[in-house]
């Protein structure tokens, strides 16, 4: 256990039972998160990218113990938080916060902004009433909202402003790690950049560590230091973001990057169009999870599941193309 890592995830698994029939018997499992490991350094932003159903959100929520993990360890502050009971972990939640995707459903419509911001402070017994008020006012200013808006209800705000409130609510307890679950995906482009700037500014100011979950490769490129590409519950490739975008190794990463529409109408880039759909996660293919859509698939991919190995210093890939 090194001190440089804030969070260490080892072989984390989250299976959801599939229940069918009148008696709701478990007939199979959706392997939403299937044996993933990664470490995050302090002040770093690690992005989890992938398409719908790849398990990136489930990973975030399992780390936060919003779901019970099936197996694996998550070390935070030197403790395996998967082993701590939920009621005990409640007090540790101060240090790991989450910001959600939908600015419309992530704020209780019956609470004023002030109540929303006081609640985390009251929950973790931070400060007296005067201190709390001071913190709320300070936080409002930091996220670019005015104090007159404290008595308003969420529905009086636009999507971008609500996301600012969510950010204030998460950061007011001064967490160490923030999990951002598609936090800018629902916003219009012109608003998205405002919020991204704010998140970057606050990360520096509060020394935050981000787990940035997103499907938007352009946004990920901008905010993250390292990126993990997920497919069917597994990490396919993980390395520094710049390296991933300039020198992707995994065929899936290559296809994903080539599918980003280019903004240059003169440049008609060679796109790798993948065949077929993402397989049903309750019934994944044998061997490599990507093999059914992979243009480079060969026999070994059917039989063997590729191991997640460090190909170059700090560049991890799970693909048979890079193993003998």
């Amino acid at each position: 256990m090194s001190n440089t890592y804030v969070l260490e995830v080892n072989n984390l698994k989250k299976y959801f039972p599939v229940k069918t029939g009148v008696f709701k018997r478990t007939t199979g499992h959706i392997k939403a998160v299937d044996d993933i490991s990664f470490k995050i350094k302090s002040n770093e932003t690690l992005a989890l990218v992938g398409e719908s159903g790849c398990g990136k959100s489930t990973t975030g929520r399992t780390i936060l113990k919003l779901y019970d993990s099936t197996a694996g360890e998550v070390f935070f502050n030197g403790e395996d938080i998967m082993k701590i009971s939920k009621s005990q972990f409640r007090h540790m939640r101060k240090d790991i916060q989450m910001i959600f995707q939908d600015p419309f459903s992530s704020l209780n419509p019956r609470m004023t902004v002030k109540e929303l911001l006081i609640e985390p402070l009251a929950t973790h017994k931070i400060g007296d009433s005067a201190e709390r008020n001071r913190l709320v006012i300070e936080m409002m200013e930091k996220v670019g909202l005015s104090n007159e808006q404290l008595t308003s209800y969420p529905h009086e705000f636009s999507g971008g402003q609500r996301q600012r409130i969510s950010i204030a609510r998460a950061l007011i307890v001064k967490p160490k790690v923030v999990i951002l679950d598609e936090s800018v995906s629902a916003l219009d482009v012109s608003i998205q950049s405002q919020i991204l700037n704010l998140l970057i500014k606050l990360q520096k100011e509060f020394n935050l560590t981000y787990i940035f979950i997103s499907h938007d490769l352009n946004v990920v490129k901008h905010v993250s230091d390292r990126t993990a590409v997920m497919y069917l519950g597994q990490i396919m490739e993980m390395t520094e973001t710049d390296r991933l975008y300039t020198n992707p190794l995994h065929p899936y990463t290559k296809a994903l990057l080539s599918a980003i529409p280019s903004l240059d109408p003169y440049e008609k880039k060679e796109r790798i169009i993948l065949k077929g759909d993402i397989p049903d996660p309750s019934n994944p293919p044998s061997g490599c999870p990507f093999r059914l859509r992979c243009p480079m698939a060969h026999e070994r991919c059917i039989v063997d599941k590729p191991e997640f190995l460090e190909q170059e210093e700090g560049h991890w890939v799970a693909c048979h193309l890079y193993t003998q």
Binding site: L66, R93, K94, Q101, E119
Partner: protein, 276 residues
């Protein structure tokens, strides 16, 4: 609240219902002042008299003033329906919150028990309970209240489950808020809309069921002036004294109608699906 009253005023139909209910409530509270006679006072020389100046709605087979009995009947109706709905709503709220929020085994157990109660048609369930407890005013309230518990439990449970879909609930968990506090501050206020609508509609249902039970002789017992009792007692005389049933019937129908009018417009007002 102010905005709510304003939009209710804009909705004429709902407003009529609201005024009607207000009227019934006032009549019930001021019954001793409004009614010229005691509901059980017998005027021997005025048996089955038609409406006249002395007896506004006429008299019944025992020579009692029907107007006074209808006025006091409002008291009985409201008392029964408020208490019964109180029992059903609070019982259902607690069970539904537990069931919907915690899910799992406790939910399974509660819902299976509710399924059993749902297998009885309403009136039959009320009748069985009355049979156990014996017919009386209090037992009528309890019986109707028990009948409403499964209805409210199901409603609250499904409302809780749809509130749980919202990320603000996950957010509260992620912030570390205590489960009981989440239920109190995040869940309950957000299920109030369908709950209040159901309360309004249940009130009308309770009035109807009370009248029905009393009509069968298994609800409120004579000489208590229930509208259902009056209706049942007058059936034998109605051909030559139609006023004996017309006034109680009108009272029942108008009261239920007002609750339904209010319930309907509340539903439209509070249902976010119908907005925008």
């Amino acid at each position: 609240m102010k905005a709510f009253m304003q939009s209710l005023k804009n909705d004429k139909v709902g407003f009529i219902g609201f005024i009607g209910i207000l009227l019934v409530v006032i009549v019930a509270i001021l019954a001793p002042v409004i009614a010229p006679h005691s509901p059980s006072e017998i005027f021997n020389e005025h048996i089955l008299q038609g409406p006249n100046a002395q007896f506004l709605f006429g008299t019944d087979e025992l020579g009692r003033d029907i107007f006074s009995r209808v006025v006091f009947g409002a008291q009985v109706s409201l008392q029964v329906s408020l208490t019964a709905v109180g029992i059903g709503a609070i019982g259902g709220l607690v069970l539904g919150l537990i069931s919907g929020y915690f899910q799992g085994k406790i939910d399974q157990i509660i819902m299976r028990v509710m399924d059993v109660f749902f297998a009885f048609p309403d009136i039959l369930l009320a009748l069985t309970i009355i049979a156990v407890l014996g017919p009386s005013l209090t037992n009528t309230m309890i019986a109707i209240g028990i009948v409403f518990i499964p209805v409210f439990t199901r409603l609250v449970r499904s409302a809780v489950m749809s509130v749980k879909e919202n990320e603000y609930l996950t957010s509260a968990v992620a912030v570390g808020v205590h489960p009981l506090k989440i239920i109190a501050k995040h869940v309950t206020p957000n299920i109030m809309a369908p709950f209040i609508v159901q309360v309004t509609l249940a009130l009308s249902g309770a009035i109807l069921t009370e009248a029905a039970l009393s009509f069968l002789g298994l609800g409120v017992q004579p000489p208590d002036p229930s509208w259902g009792v009056m209706l049942n007692a007058s059936r034998a005389y109605m051909e030559f004294a139609p006023w004996t049933i017309l006034f109680p019937v009108t009272a029942i129908v108008m009261t239920i109608l007002c609750f339904n009018l209010l319930g309907d417009s509340l539903r439209d007002l509070l249902d976010p699906k119908l907005k925008s």
